[in-house]
């Protein structure tokens, strides 16, 4: 496999879809609101809670407004893709499954140096933590591997395995490319830059220079209020949507440089409270009507 032409970006995704589909995962589509990481999708965050088994894989576009570099940095993007897998409960052969998936995309562990390097994962905005590793291939972190221990401030009664692949990095590695914009996107001449460069430039201006901070602040407060109201009404996922919106608005405000160091912690605390309420509402619902 590795002797022939390396996988183009979209084939890499297709291979992973096929692999995880064969392992029994539901192949889901990206969540339709701005997220900072694949973990934040309700397909992971909410499903990690409670006692019901779950197995899903999906691509999630991620937005990190302050990582914008106007398309000038070969490794950093304010919009990129993660491939996210959630397996609940944690399979006995979690590590082996990940390694097999590397083989499926052309990485041979006897030619490359695969390492599991300690990583205590934590996401304070959703009150989540877990233990696991950064998975290195030849010195590069290509995946994050986490056994979830807590989400939304709630211990996971049935821990899950979360696997997150940085797709651009992985593709750059597989293709031997040093600039993300040079990635072969479809094997027919289209590059990653053809698809995303203009957007990176425009969004960088938006994130750092143009976004209306007054409006963002108003939206943040609106989303917060709405999220609280919806959690109280017991509709978990819509409440969680508003929490996600608030989280993204906070990231934009942060990129615009209008949040001071001392305010930062308080904003993160407000988002965490929303996430916790939505998670509580989700669990309450699981225990009653939908069981």
């Amino acid at each position: 496999m590795s002797a022939t032409r390396p996988l183009c970006f979209q084939d890499l995704i297709l291979r992973l879809h096929q692999f995880w589909s064969e392992k029994g995962c539901a192949i889901l589509q990206p969540y339709d609101t701005e997220l900072g990481a694949g973990t934040l999708s309700p397909h992971t965050t909410l499903r990690a809670l409670g006692p019901k088994p779950w197995a899903a894989a999906y691509v999630q576009p991620c937005r990190r407004p302050s990582d914008g570099r106007y398309g000038e940095n070969p490794n950093r993007l304010q919009h990129y893709y993660q491939y996210q897998v959630l397996l609940k409960p944690t399979p006995e052969d979690s590590q082996q499954l990940l390694l097999d998936s590397y083989r499926a995309i052309g990485i041979d562990p006897e030619l490359h140096d695969i390492r599991f390097v300690e990583d205590d994962w934590e996401n304070p905005t959703i009150g989540a933590w877990g233990l696991g590793w950064e998975v290195w291939c030849d010195g590069m972190e290509v995946s994050q591997f986490t056994y979830f221990q807590q989400v939304g401030g709630i211990p996971t009664v049935m821990p899950s395995t979360e696997l997150t692949y940085g797709l651009e990095r992985l593709a750059m590695y597989v293709q031997g490319v040093e600039n993300v914009y040079d990635l072969d996107f479809n094997g027919k001449g289209l590059t990653y830059g053809d698809v995303f460069l203009r957007a990176e430039q425009d969004y960088s201006r938006h994130n750092f220079e143009l976004a209306d901070t007054q409006m963002l602040l108003t939206h943040f407060n609106d989303a917060e209020r709405e999220s609280i109201r919806l959690s109280e009404a017991g509709v978990a996922q819509p409440a969680y949507d508003q929490c996600l919106k608030a989280s993204h608005l906070f990231n934009l405000l942060d990129a615009r440089g209008v949040i001071s160091v001392s305010e930062r912690a308080s904003y993160i605390g407000r988002v965490r409270a929303l996430a916790k309420a939505a998670c509580d509402a989700w669990l309450a619902g699981e225990e009653t009507s939908h069981g």
């Binding site: 006995e92 390097v117 300690e118 030849d138 821990p159």
Partner: protein
């Protein structure tokens, strides 16, 4: 005797936790199997396992124990409780010395039975710093999922399961199976003994002995370096860390892209170490060599070509990031960054880094002046003090905090600051640790001292002292840094006066404790050098001399003196005099004041009086002129006179007046020795 073998095979254990866990396993087993005389313990650890091999007795022999119960005539209920607890009837008890006693004879316990009971308990309670749950509902936790328990007594499986109280503990049971290298030898193999396990693992590409792995890394990297006529930068911490990441270390050498070789060597080294766990290499002239060494986890089919290319590519991306900061940081002059320090809090009660920079600057000037530097150097010290913390606002230090100071030095030089100033900015954190060099350049010395004086005076003024367990602001290290810098450079400074300057008008807090704190650090330091700390203590009773050089010269002169025969005898005489005075003073003391020459009845008394008369001014002058050896000689010279005095004179003479006068003479002798030191503090 039987060999007990226990291996806990798991998913990858954090490198930094392995050694401690293996130690804990060994000591917990030893404790739990106490009755079986555990001995010959060896422990092992690696990326996916911890293990212990030890010898134990085949059984705990039959024995009798007696348990004391309630007192004779105690309430019925107490007796009932005692018998219930032990499952016996009152008829089984005997009355001994007024107590009900149960004499039990215990059957022998086999090693197998004891081990199968103790090990599950130990594993449930194993003290990992952080552990996790996994699977579908067991509450058994381990650092990462535990996959196998191998437990053998002389090659036979000790049968036990981890399950308890309805928790299946992932169905984990002791077996005789272990596993080799993840990629090179997948699947299980049978273990027969500790030695066979080690050998079998080696054929299955796992080097389970940490020392062997270390050796493979050190010699392997050195051999690779030799081929290019370069040397590796020694880093024991890094060797240990990578040895915890790989089961079969394979050192490899990669090349650094020439385009990055103009980055500072320290930047390259830190980026390689922190981000990638790579070893840095040096040319014979000490400059950075265009190579890096890394440790793979297996002998690669292609000799490591692909993985080396991959690692080189990763490093290019890392260095591209570093270059970004390097280029961006240099666009702003270091001096222009000082105002931004106003936004960086140093400590809530001690203000911002900008205020601290002002203080260090002023203090560096004061120290430079006290060191006798010239006007230009004093100005340089003040300038360097002001710039010292400015690199805290740079991107590079934000990314790699361990480069603070070093980057400031580069950026100062880039901005055209004077060489001594740039150097002082770079060196003002010296010494960074016990094994690190101290600053030597005069301007650097002034700034490094100013930095620490401000730190100590500030935290003592707000009452933030180190406690037995914690020293969050590294005040002990700061004090030691001052002591080492002053000693290495032979600086004649008055620390007491400098601390007063550093207090900057503040009073109170715990500032008064600062001299004792410094004295204590000095004592600890001397002890670690194998010096006699009792001699220092004998001199410190007079209070900390702010001039450490003088203090230490005096200490070593005293040290030398008490090692001579005269000195030893003088010491004995001084102690004898002190003893007599202590006893007699209690009766009718103190016996102070000048003795009356008319009351002397023996020549030996007159000789001692004359000797003291002569010695006192000699000692005082010698001390003033810092001729400490002369002062010591002057007092040691009294020895024959003293010997004769104690031989011939009875201090407690029958006539009260004579007795009192002799005690006064002894008291005078004690005062004279006190000019030198408190001899009572000296041992021996």
């Amino acid at each position: 005797m039987a060999e007990l073998f226990l291996e806990l095979f798991s998913e990858e254990i954090p490198s930094g936790m392995q050694a401690r866990a293996a130690d804990d396993l060994g000591s917990l087993l030893t404790k739990a199997l106490d009755g079986l005389n555990p001995r010959d313990l060896r422990t092992f650890f690696g990326a996916r396992r911890i293990a212990a091999v030890l010898n134990i007795d085949a059984e705990i022999p039959a024995r009798s124990v007696s348990e004391r119960g309630p007192r004779e005539g105690a309430p019925e209920k107490a007796l009932e409780g005692f018998t219930r607890k032990h499952g016996v009837t009152p008829a089984d008890l005997t009355l001994e010395n007024g107590f009900w006693v149960l004499n039990k004879s215990l059957d022998p316990v086999s090693a197998e039975s004891r081990v199968s009971e103790a090990v599950p308990d130990l594993l449930w309670k194993f003290p990992w710093p952080k552990s996790m749950r996994w699977g579908a509902g067991s509450n058994f936790t381990w650092v990462r999922p535990l996959r196998r328990i191998t437990c053998l007594l002389d090659g036979h499986v000790v049968p036990f399961a981890l399950a308890r109280d309805g928790d299946d503990a992932h169905g984990l049971k002791a077996s005789n199976l272990s596993e080799g290298h993840r990629f090179l030898a997948p699947g299980a193999f049978e273990v027969l003994s500790g030695q066979q396990w080690q050998d079998e693992l080696e054929t299955r590409s796992v080097i389970v002995d940490m020392d062997s792995r270390r050796d493979m890394v050190r010699t392997g990297v050195a051999r690779l370096a030799e081929q290019h006529d370069i040397t590796v930068v020694q880093d024991d911490g890094l060797v240990d860390e990578v040895c915890g990441l790989v089961e079969y270390p394979v050192p490899l050498l990669g090349q650094i892209d020439a385009a990055f070789m103009d980055l500072p060597a320290e930047v390259m080294q830190v980026s390689m170490r922190i981000n990638q766990r790579y070893f840095a290499l040096r040319n014979p002239d000490g400059s950075a060599a265009p190579y890096f060494a890394f440790i793979g986890n297996l002998p690669f089919k292609d000799g490591g070509k692909l993985t080396t290319a991959g690692n080189e590519r990763v490093l290019r991306a890392r260095f591209a990031d570093a270059r970004h900061f390097w280029d961006l940081d240099r666009k702003t002059k270091l001096a222009d960054r000082v105002p931004a320090l106003a936004a960086v809090t140093f400590h809530a009660k001690l203000g911002t880094q900008a205020e601290r920079a002002e203080r260090i600057s002023k203090l560096a000037g004061t120290v430079a002046q006290a060191m006798g530097l010239d006007g230009a150097q004093i100005a340089q010290a003040e300038r360097a003090g002001l710039l010292a913390k400015a690199d805290l606002t740079t991107g590079m230090v934000g990314e790699f905090p361990e480069l603070q100071g070093v980057m400031g030095g580069y950026y100062a030089a880039h901005a055209g600051e004077n060489e001594a100033v740039s150097r002082a900015v770079a060196e003002h954190y010296l010494p960074r640790g016990q094994s690190d060099e101290t600053a030597k350049a005069p301007v650097s010395v002034a700034v490094t001292l100013a930095d620490r004086l401000d730190l100590l005076a500030g935290f003592f003024a707000i009452g933030e002292l180190p406690s037995g367990s914690g020293d969050p602001y590294a005040l002990r290290r700061a004090a030691l840094g001052i002591i080492r810098t002053i000693r290495d450079n032979g600086l004649r400074l008055d620390l007491t006066a400098l601390f007063a300057q550093a207090a900057n008008g503040r009073t109170g807090g715990e500032l008064a404790k600062l001299p004792d704190f410094m004295a204590e650090r000095l004592r600890v330091q001397l002890r670690s050098e194998g010096e006699r700390h009792d001699v220092l203590a004998a001199i410190l009773t007079r209070g900390l001399d702010g001039d450490l050089v003088r203090l230490l010269a005096r200490t070593s002169a005293l040290s030398e003196m008490i090692q001579t025969e005269d000195g030893r005898n003088l010491l004995a005489a001084a102690k004898r005099a002190a003893n007599i005075l202590r006893i007699e003073d209690k009766k009718d003391g103190p016996h102070t004041g000048a003795p009356d020459p008319l009351l002397y009845t023996q020549d030996e008394e007159r000789a001692l009086a004359a000797g003291l008369d002569q010695a006192v001014p000699t000692i005082e002058t010698a001390l003033k002129e810092e001729r400490f050896t002369d002062a010591m000689q002057a007092i040691a010279a009294l020895r024959p006179t003293l010997d004769r005095f104690f031989e011939a004179v009875t201090v407690n003479a029958p006539e009260p007046k004579v007795r009192a006068n002799r005690l006064k003479l002894l008291s005078l002798f004690r005062e004279t020795t006190a000019l030198i030191a408190d001899f009572g503090q000296i041992e021996g």
